[in-house]
């Protein structure tokens, strides 16, 4: 019979125990478990995830352990014959508190969720960052996310034109 808990080793060499149920919420760990059936139960290495971030991931998995499996929605054309943006509303109060963290932590969790392939958590982090972008000017976005402005004046003029500039200089 399979053990009820799984050991994983994080990037900072910490060994952390997590329940099989939580481990299986990560497609990456799940695949590793399936590949290692019958083999000696060694700690699964997670070289891209720190113990601090993994604990956050486990917190999220604990809260959402009884959620139904996410379903891939089929994209549909709207009345304008365009595909709509995904809904960025975060409705769960617990999730709202969860994303109320420093940007560094949010980005680390997003990267971890992507690596571990935890769909619900990955989507939550993407929604949060998308909502963070709303209402910010380019300078504010660059400052917040540490992005360098490598656009030339020609690039910007082309973008202005693309976005319907009606000024004579563009």
């Amino acid at each position: 019979m399979a053990s009820e808990s799984i050991s994983v080793t994080t990037s900072d060499d910490q060994t952390i125990q997590l329940s099989r149920k939580h481990a299986q919420m990560s497609q990456t760990i799940n695949s590793m478990l399936e590949d290692s059936v019958g083999a000696d139960q060694e700690a699964i290495p997670l070289p891209n995830v720190s113990s601090e971030v993994l604990k956050k991931v486990i917190d999220w998995c604990t809260h959402h352990e009884n959620d139904p499996a996410p379903v891939e929605k089929v994209k549909k054309l709207n009345k304008k014959r365009e595909y709509k943006a995904k809904n960025s509303t975060i409705s769960d109060e617990w999730d709202k508190n969860f994303v109320n963290a420093e940007l560094r932590v949010i980005v680390d969790i997003l990267l971890a969720a992507n690596y571990l392939d935890v769909k619900g958590l990955f989507e939550l982090m993407c929604k949060h960052i998308a909502n963070e972008l709303k209402g910010k000017t380019p300078d504010q976005i660059r400052e917040r996310f540490g992005i360098q402005d490598d656009l030339t004046e020609e690039d910007k003029a082309a973008m202005r034109k693309a976005w319907g500039a009606t000024k004579n200089d563009s």
Binding site: L77, K80, R81, E82, Y83, K84, A85, K86, N87, S88, L103, R104, I106, V107, D108, L110, L111, N114, F122, C126, K127, I129, A130, N131, L133, K134, G135, K136, T137, P138, I141, R142, F145, G146, I147, Q148, D149, D150, L151, D155, K156, M159, R160, K161, A162, W163, G164, A165, T166, K167, N168
Partner: protein, 221 residues
């Protein structure tokens, strides 16, 4: 400690949660984000080579952002002023203009639809946005018969009825002598929610003959 940079494929996922208008600003941050935004446009619109020709509404989350695109991209269009009126956002309306007289002649010619202050007032009335209505009042847009005639011309009554903002309907009923438009409103309102109209009639103790007639008339709609 600063956040790690996100790889482009993750920005693609993030941008998939943003409506097209919200992709404007990221386009002006860096080449990477611009290219990711273009990828999203292309995936959304089957006629992607024409995406830039469509009417793009720029975001108005705050005055700072509206100021940014007004300075950097283009002058406002009616859809943005309308959105500000619907959100009761006076600061943005001050920035965009309560009418299109401050726009350059070139921009006015290129815009599909120009706007006047009465149009702002109508949107505010429909939603019951008191700050915008008061601002219109201070600008003397709401007093006098000419404004009422203007509102009639702008088709405000059916829209008020559709929106079903009882407070505004009641206010217009009490403050203005507008019996004829009331008929339109009640008919629309009746279509939307019969129970709500019935409760309103009971609450307001409306028993005048003409309204009773309407009550009967609306039931047949």
């Amino acid at each position: 400690m600063t956040a790690q940079p996100l790889p482009p494929d993750l920005w693609t996922e993030v941008f998939s949660f943003l409506p097209t208008s919200d992709l404007c600003v990221p386009c002006f941050t860096s080449k990477t984000l611009r290219d990711v935004a273009h990828k999203i446009f292309n995936s959304r619109d089957p006629n992607y080579h024409h995406w830039w020709r469509q009417k793009k509404q720029l975001p108005i989350y705050n005055v700072e952002m509206s100021h940014w695109w007004k300075v950097n991209i283009r002058e406002p269009v009616w859809e943005r002023a309308r959105a500000a009126a619907l959100q009761d956002d006076i600061s943005t309306l001050d920035l965009l203009g309560w009418d299109d007289t401050q726009l350059s002649p070139r921009h006015r010619n290129l815009c599909e639809l120009n706007w006047r202050r009465e149009m702002i007032l109508m949107e505010a009335l429909v939603k019951g946005n008191k700050r915008t209505i008061n601002a219109c009042h201070q600008k003397e847009d709401i007093s006098g018969v000419s404004t009422v005639e203007c509102l009639l011309w702008l088709n405000v009554w059916p829209r008020l009825g559709e929106e079903g903002n009882l407070e505004m309907i009641r206010w217009l009923h009490n403050e203005q002598s507008l019996e004829e438009p009331m008929e339109w409103m009640l008919q629309r309102k009746w279509n939307k929610s019969q129970d709500e109209v019935r409760r309103w009639f009971q609450r307001e103790d409306i028993t005048t003959e003409w309204l009773m007639h309407l009550w009967e008339h609306a039931r047949d709609m």
